[in-house]
Amino acid sequence: MSELAIAASGVAKSYVTGEATLEVLSSVELSVGRGEFVSIQGESGCGKTTLLNVLAGIESPDTGYVQWGGDRIESLGRNALAVKRGRYLGIVFQSYYLVPEIDSLQNVLMARRIVDGRVGKSQVDEAKAMLAKVGLGDRCHQMPNTLSGGERQRVAIARALITNPAVILADEPTGNLDESTGNRVMDQLRGLCREFGTSLVLVTHNPEHAALADRQLTLSQGAIH
């Protein structure tokens, strides 16, 4: 396998609800190489989103550890982890999560503002170019509420890629879209990750989208198969 981009080793995660303990992940072993596209499927509630959150460092595992580019992240403090996450990962959510008060261009630039502190003309040009790559070159100044679901998700993809991250974690990015729009979005996401050499970890229910991956994995009973 090529150089390691992101990995989980012996990751377990359970939730206590009242007196019951729900074990979601029991012993996950996962390694994703640089530029590799890995899809993860599984039944609803099997822990796919939890696994992505653990990989993103948004949630801590009970046991085991996560590595970004070979570095373990469990020793990093909350802020240091957030800063590293901003530079190393891009996350695409099912519900897009665009900031409603700013236009498409500023939503894309937001990732750069957070990572770089400030944005100048070159970053603005980059963001416009990124929006053009996802087919929204003419929608730069559209507010999110005037965009269709597919367009919003493409803005979210442009936002995730604008910082040139090593890994994109995509949590059912086509889950809210119709089939043809979902296919178009998926094609763009895969194409751009390939173009930039970005690793892609895709959680999806759609077998056709999962089949596009270099490796197809399934999460069941808390483990990767």
Binding site: R78, I91, S95, E101, D103, R113, G117, M143
Partner: protein
């Protein structure tokens, strides 16, 4: 611009959309608080400033007295006018008389002056409303507009003047008749304390009425332009032996100024409550905003935002509400105060009684004076309170766990 400032501004004042209700209410609260503070404090400053100006105009800058009657006032005037600080000096006598016109008596303050010297200290000619100052002689008086109105007397009418000297003489079985005097002119300074109840006679007449001989009570001093009254009082005091004392108009009217300053401070603290109430509105609104934006907070954290940046983002929303509210409040205050006479006229045209109300406040119009220090204090306090109001909700936002924020419904 850092992202947290950018988002704070966009959350509060979104581009191309209607202003959020929370922004309107919070900004309105700060606007009202700032407006009330600027208007009230500027009017109080106006009263203080106007009293200082009017007192200096109507009584001169300094007063030299020894608490008794003194006769060598010419020597002392020479001593004073030798100083490079002094523009001119004039003798002055003062007291109280009973003035009667027909069967209506009143008890005004009386001043005895030498017209030519007094003119160099007080712009008497500017204050004459009816009659002529040059008509003032030893058998005539100048009366203030308040007395003229109260007793319904005009220039040329005659009035009887009774003095405390008559009572003294009566004790010695000697009867002094009241002095019949003609009204030479009616004056009005704009300072109600003087305009309500003052009579001016010549120095000789006053010396006769009070039995002062050649003595006077005080010397009024006008300083050269730009000379500080306190400094000049200290300098000139060196020329006089006790019990002579050189005092400023400020010391003589310290009671008025102290009351105004005290009232101003009280009003400041009372009106600050409006800004505090506005801060609760900001805090409540920001709490609501934090709940509404929980997922967005999770998003920012997932994109690399630190807790401090999230806190700054929400705190800056309170700050931007404070800045905008204060700016609008200042602008409205200046507009309101510049149109104050029109507004006051409109109010009194409905409720009536303008003259009585204005007389109560010593001035014929509402005075306003902007003090930069007061304006800076108001601006800093309003913005600080608005920013601090956002602190608690901001900390709540900053401490949200990203995973819980992203999962929130």
């Amino acid at each position: 611009m850092p992202w947290y400032l950018y988002i704070a501004i966009r959350h509060t004042f979104p581009k191309g959309k209607r202003l959020p209700f929370f922004t309107i209410m919070s900004v309105t609260g700060v606007v009202l608080g700032t407006l009330a503070l600027v208007v009230v404090l500027s009017v109080f400053n106006g009263f203080g400033h106007a009293i200082r100006e009017v007192v200096a105009d109507t009584t001169g800058d300094l007063k030299v007295m020894n608490g008794r009657i003194f006769e060598d006032y010419e020597d002392k005037i020479d001593l004073l006018t030798e100083s490079p600080l002094v523009d001119s000096a004039a003798p002055s006598t003062f007291g109280m008389v009973m003035l009667q016109a027909g069967n209506r008596p009143i008890f005004p303050q009386v001043q005895g002056i030498e017209v030519d010297r007094e003119r160099k200290i007080v712009p008497l000619d500017d204050y004459i409303r009816y009659g002529n100052l040059d008509e003032l002689d030893d058998d005539s008086v100048l009366i203030s507009s308040g007395i003229a109105n109260t007793l319904r007397i005009r220039v040329g009418d005659e009035v009887d003047i009774y003095t405390p000297l008559m009572i003294e003489r009566l004790k010695q079985d000697e009867v002094l008749l009241p002095r019949l005097m003609r009204v030479a002119a009616v004056f009005e300074t704009g300072f109600t304390k003087i305009d309500e109840n003052t009579v001016i006679t010549t120095l000789r007449t006053m010396q006769d009425l009070y039995g002062l001989g050649d003595g006077v009570h005080a010397i009024k001093v006008k300083l050269k332009p730009g000379v500080d009254a306190d400094f000049a009082a200290r300098e000139l005091q060196g020329k006089f032996e006790p019990p002579f004392r050189v005092s400023t108009w400020l010391e003589s009217n310290a009671d008025y100024l102290a009351i105004i300053e005290f009232e101003k401070r009280m009003m400041f603290f009372i009106l600050l409550i409006i800004v505090l109430v506005a801060s609760f509105s900001i805090a409540t609104s920001l709490f609501t905003s934090v709940v509404k934006k929980t997922r967005e907070i999770g998003l920012f954290t997932s994109m690399g935002a630190t807790s401090q940046q999230i806190i700054a983002c929400f705190c800056l929303q309170g700050f931007s509400v404070g800045v905008v509210g204060t700016a609008i409040g200042f602008a409205l205050s200046f507009a309101l105060l510049s149109a104050r006479e029109t507004i006051i006229d409109a109010i009194f045209s409905v409720i009536g009684g303008k003259e009585q109300t204005m007389q109560f406040y010593f001035f014929s119009e509402l005075p306003v004076h902007y003090k930069p220090v007061d304006l800076i204090v108001i601006a800093v306090l309003s913005i600080s309170i608005a920013t601090l109001a956002g602190l608690v909700p901001s900390i709540k936002a900053g401490l949200l766990k990203p995973v819980e924020a992203l999962r929130s419904e």
